[in-house]
């Protein structure tokens, strides 16, 4: 139980940071080069 709770909390935290960054990045996505 301890490990499962810790795992879920950590994954939520990590995915939140990456998710917010993705949302920020998508704003500039059109300007990114394809090559």
């Amino acid at each position: 139980m301890l490990f499962t709770t810790f795992l879920l909390k950590s994954l939520t935290m990590i995915c939140s940071i990456v998710g917010v960054s993705c949302l920020i990045g998508l704003k500039f996505y059109k300007n990114m080069s394809d090559e």
Partner: protein
């Protein structure tokens, strides 16, 4: 991997020194069982010699098969590969390869050994190390990594030359190469520790074996080899870690419940909070994030990976893989350190030895071999990119740039290979005397912070060579005084880390000097939606 944070939390000071002590103590205990922490060699001796040999053979076989096999396959496939292919894979790497390589580049000895020890004092809040590195990876994929790719540069100093001219290029390449080399020596030492913990051989012998595998890793096929081996390593590594998480509870004396009860009943329930107490957040979490992000965000070793990507969009997309993989690794090392403290016989070994002892003593042989192969994979990948980065900097930014040598890429690649060999040998030799080197690496990290800020100013605000020089040399001078003179105590600021000093000075000197001095247009100056303008910046500089 970031090594330079200090924090005040709970009842004591958690610092890089503790990690250094950890490595030194294990090193001593391996060399002389009568000294220091004896957990690693002592536990090794408890195992049957045949079992130890079997584990070692499996681990070595795995490393040689993946590194050698993939390297030889790539060599036969690309017999006429160009020199640029060696350092940046002809900018052809895809999202999975870039994502995995970026994740593993920043996944080294701190994540493997350092976090196990940190969790002894901080508990689950040691995850702040993970938070810092995930933010770092996001920053690189959103900003610096994309920028270096867009400008088609091979090194970070080359980017700075575009903004500020050749003098800044040389200065920054020296700082960047020295910093990465400092990390390389640490990785070599930690690879030695993994071999020592398996076999009872000396750390020196272990570092030599690790150095040979690390050289094969990078020399056979360069950046593409590093990328593909990393993909294989990641599958093996996370497989091992997930299996460890699933089965470890069954091997602990009182299971996961016993670990939880230990912390609750001993009045340390705060250790089970993932963000820790407010003191931990202020004294450890935030400083770790600041130091990691601003020192490594402009480091050659991370950005060399993004330079090898197919496109800017690939860099951006790889953020999802890199961020999640890098962040998740720490979950397992934190839980190993946390569990070790709850077992009395392991707790007696102290924070430095308990985590490795838990792996060696409580887990079954097949899992020990799997975990050692995983940890070695993480360390070797960091070793590979850390040796590639300073060698590339030396050849491209010092040898070719300073002496104005017009060489084809193939010849430069040969020189880079020679430099890789020389640097790896020196790093392995220097790693035998780790203490001073780690302190040196810690100090050198803070040198990169002004580079980050002058890059931002040069790309988006103004390209003033004089302002860049004032920012760089002013910050470095104060950093030097802060390290080697009683200046901090004279100012009553003994506890303030070098990273804070260089961050504040970089911003103050950078902003003031750029406001006061004239300069050219920024490299990414945008006007009315029209991106530009390199030519104008060049003209203003000249």
């Amino acid at each position: 991997m970031n090594m330079h944070f200090t924090s005040l939390c709970g009842d004591g000071k958690i610092s890089i020194q503790q990690i250094v002590d950890f490595v030194i103590a294990i090193s001593r205990s391996v060399r002389d069982p009568g000294l220091g922490i004896q957990s690693v060699p002592a536990n090794v001796k408890e195992r049957e010699k045949e079992t130890v040999n079997m584990i070692l053979i499996i681990v070595l076989l795995y490393e040689f098969l993946t590194v050698g096999g993939i390297g030889l396959y790539l060599r036969s496939k690309r017999k006429n590969a160009s020199g640029a292919h060696f350092t940046n894979a002809n900018r052809s790497l895809s999202v999975p390869v870039i994502g995995v390589t970026l994740a593993l580049t920043f996944l080294g000895s701190l994540h493997v050994f350092g976090v196990m020890e940190l969790s002894w004092d901080l508990g689950m809040a040691a995850m702040w190390v993970s938070v810092a590195h995930v933010i770092l990876i996001c920053l690189i994929c959103l900003t610096t990594g994309r920028w270096v790719h867009r400008l088609k540069v091979d090194t970070v100093p080359e980017l700075l030359e575009k903004c500020f001219g050749p003098r800044i290029r040389i200065a920054s390449s020296c700082a960047n190469a020295a910093c990465v080399f400092g990390l390389l020596t640490l990785e070599a030492q930690c690879i030695g520790i993994v071999f020592s913990s398996l076999t009872g051989c000396t750390i020196a012998q272990g570092a030599v074996v690790g150095g040979i595998i690390g050289l094969l890793y990078v020399l056979l096929a360069g950046m593409e080899e590093i990328g593909l081996v990393n993909v294989v390593n990641t599958i093996v590594m996370f497989g091992g870690l997930i299996v460890t998480g699933l089965v470890m509870g069954g091997f602990l004396p009182n299971g996961w419940d016993g670990v939880e009860q230990f912390y609750v009943s001993s009045g340390q329930a705060d250790m089970l909070k993932i963000f820790g107490t407010p003191e931990v957040i202020i004294g450890f979490g935030i400083p770790t994030v600041i130091a990691t992000v601003f020192a490594q965000g402009i480091s050659q070793m991370g950005l060399q990976v993004t330079m090898s990507a197919k496109s800017e969009k690939v860099v951006f997309k790889s953020m999802i893989i890199a961020g999640i993989l890098n962040g998740c690794f720490t979950i397992f090392t934190v839980i190993i350190g946390l569990s070790a403290k709850s077992i009395p016989e392991l707790a007696a070994l102290g924070p430095k030895g308990a985590g490795p002892a838990l792996i060696v003593q409580y887990l079954p042989n097949w899992l020990v071999a799997w975990l050692c192969a995983s940890f070695l994979g993480a360390l070797l990948s960091t070793f590979a990119t850390n040796v590639m980065a300073p060698a590339t900097l030396f050849v491209k930014d010092i040898y070719v740039s300073v002496y104005k040598i017009d060489e084809p890429e193939e010849k430069q690649a040969r020189h880079i290979k020679v430099m890789i060999f020389i640097l790896a040998v020196i790093a392995v030799l220097v790693s035998f005397f780790l203490p001073n080197i780690v302190e040196g690496a810690n100090w050198m990290f803070s040198w990169l912070i002004p580079l980050f800020w002058i890059t931002i100013f040069g790309l988006f605000w103004k390209t003033s060579r004089k302002a860049a020089e004032i920012t760089l040399f002013g910050t470095w001078a104060v950093n030097f005084l802060w390290s080697f003179t009683p200046l901090p105590s004279l100012l009553g600021m003994e506890g303030v880390m070098n990273a804070y000093v260089t961050l504040s000075l970089s911003l103050i000197l950078g902003i003031v000097s750029n406001l006061a001095l004239p300069g050219g247009a920024a490299l990414f100056h945008e006007k009315q939606g029209k991106k530009v303008n390199v030519q104008a910046a060049k003209a203003a500089r000249n």
